[in-house]
Subunit: 338 residues, 2 copies
């Protein structure tokens, strides 16, 4: 924390407090960086932002590729910005971006109109990064956006691996998009996503497809009846909508607003955020422990050998793990013995 | 390792080498124990067993409650014991047993005939235990059973939480049981289990249901076509069978045998086991690290306070985690400073 560092952090703080997008963008980039000096600066900024954050509604939006996530976000975002006066930040959890070249929000072309609105900030997902850090990076971005005055955070995630679970662990409201004709199997039902949804939204309910979408909506409503007992007091809803005609879009948001109201009143909204914070504490601890362990120079020097022994069956995994942990703890105790 | 301890371990080793069930059962109980002296003894026994293990085929069997897992294991087991001269050990991964009172293999009543066969060993799941330890306990039991001469390990798991993933990470062949009329959704498709299956088995293909079961088999075959590209070279199969009439039971095993042959020849069988060992090494490391951290007396004294600060929003989860890790590492370095 040099005096220069302080000045720099102060500049960021002021920019963010004023809702300046360039300052916000650069702060998110710092938080995504792997450079220690960037992370240190990011920590300082985020610590300051923390008391100014938390006042938005955070909505997770998931569904298989082709379901129309970007289109829904565009039409929902425009509705919220134009007719409800909301300030919207669109973020993405995309653990695959390093592999696929970033399909989620990789370019803003798919949300052109939305991205031009003055009350909207669209943050493309980082072009690379480890899955482990995705939760932290996105959480940091949420805090920064909230401190910059955004009251509605839409987090898009593609249904790959753990990304929905990660998303679910950081949003207030979790929305699963589905389309007709794609087989329920490969949509949210897979990996238990549907059980976590606060709303299922059948997209592309327009033209000839509208009738099928409505049928699907009814079927899903039937199916959802057998889901988890709602601890939140909220019964998951099913909506059909069209990003082309705008049909059902305001109802989708009405549903989020009703959730916010109900769970605000019964205390579940705050309770869920408290749980998420606690979850994030322990998740971060596990990650930090592993970072410390795998970053230890003695572990680095030895782990390849142990892996080889285990893979070749000369050591069992439990003995190998116990020996490596002993080495790590021993070296921490006696750091001078090289 | 007292001389007495050695003698005790030696007794276990001899018993296991002779295929004596009481010695095997007690050794598994030791491995499941939370007492340090039991675990130490178990480690000694398992280390000895390791070179004598690994020669079985390990089959995971999953499906929703009511799908007929026990019945299939009974009729498959009897077929294997009687007609193929196999020695069969039946284990269970049941993370819910502590909550529900142990529904999976909780009593042997459901496999009465099988349990009486001299070449069959059925191990009820432990009546309690943490989810974290489930993988280790079951892996230990597999090693012990193999060292005792069992050549076929059937691992039953109920579709709850992470149990299928845990099961998948330790078996050679993963079988998903399904029934007609239960909705594909809530069966294996949920949580992506179907993507991991080497075979889908439609149970209860008897009487009036046989036709429906065959129809479902065809549908599933269609659906499976679009699954993962088979790195193993093995195309997942779909079978229909009946534990009542015996219809299809030998075909189910034929399928496992063909998998074993194909993947034995192309090297995938051995490769998968190597990967599983490496996976278990890192999984165990993560678990041991957390045990060491959360077991640290200084962490224990402080963590409640930090959790409270995080939950109340006075500290962010990342700062809280960083502070706790610093405390842990500092105390390891300077253990005398209390």
């Amino acid at each position: 924390m040099t005096p220069q560092g302080r000045t720099e952090a102060e500049t960021y703080r002021r920019g963010i407090a004023n809702g300046e997008i360039p300052a916000l963008s650069r702060a998110i980039t710092l938080a995504e960086s792997t450079l220690p000096e960037h992370r240190e600066l990011a920590r300082e900024i985020i610590t300051w932002c923390l008391p100014h954050s938390g006042k938005s509604v955070r909505v997770g939006i998931t569904g298989i590729p082709g379901v129309g996530k970007s289109s829904l976000i565009e039409s929902l975002g425009l509705y919220l910005a134009r007719e409800r006066g909301k300030k919207i930040a669109v973020l993405a959890i995309d653990p695959t971006s390093s592999e696929t070249g970033g399909s989620v929000l990789g370019d803003k072309i798919r949300m052109q109109e939305l991205s031009r609105h003055k009350n909207v900030y669209i943050r493309p997902s980082p072009s690379s990064g480890s899955l482990g850090g995705v939760a932290k990076k996105t959480s940091d971005a949420v805090i920064l956006c909230e401190a910059a005055g955004f009251d509605t955070i839409l987090i898009e995630t593609v249904g790959v691996g753990q990304s929905e679970i990660t998303c679910h662990s950081m949003v207030d409201f979790f929305m699963l998009l589905m389309i007709t004709g794609a087989g329920d199997d490969i949509q949210g039902i897979k990996r238990g996503i549907i059980e976590r949804a606060d709303a299922v939204v059948i997209t592309k309910a327009d033209g000839e497809n509208r009738k099928n979408a409505e049928l699907m909506r009814q079927e899903m409503e039937e199916a959802l009846r057998f889901q988890r007992p709602p601890e939140s007091g909220w019964i998951p809803r099913v909506h059909a909508c069209s990003s082309v005609t705008g049909y059902g879009i305001s109802e989708v948001w009405q549903c989020v607003a009703e959730y916010e109201k109900l769970c605000g009143e019964n205390g579940y909204f705050a309770e869920k955020r408290r749980r998420q914070a606690k979850y994030r504490l322990h998740e971060t601890l596990a990650q930090n422990l592993e970072d410390s362990f795998y970053g230890n120079k003695f572990v680095k020097k030895t782990i390849g050998k142990v892996e080889k022994e285990v893979v070749e069956g000369r050591t069992d995994p439990y003995t190998g793990a116990a020996n490596l942990l002993d080495l790590y703890l021993e070296k921490l105790r006696l750091p001078s013995q090289t």
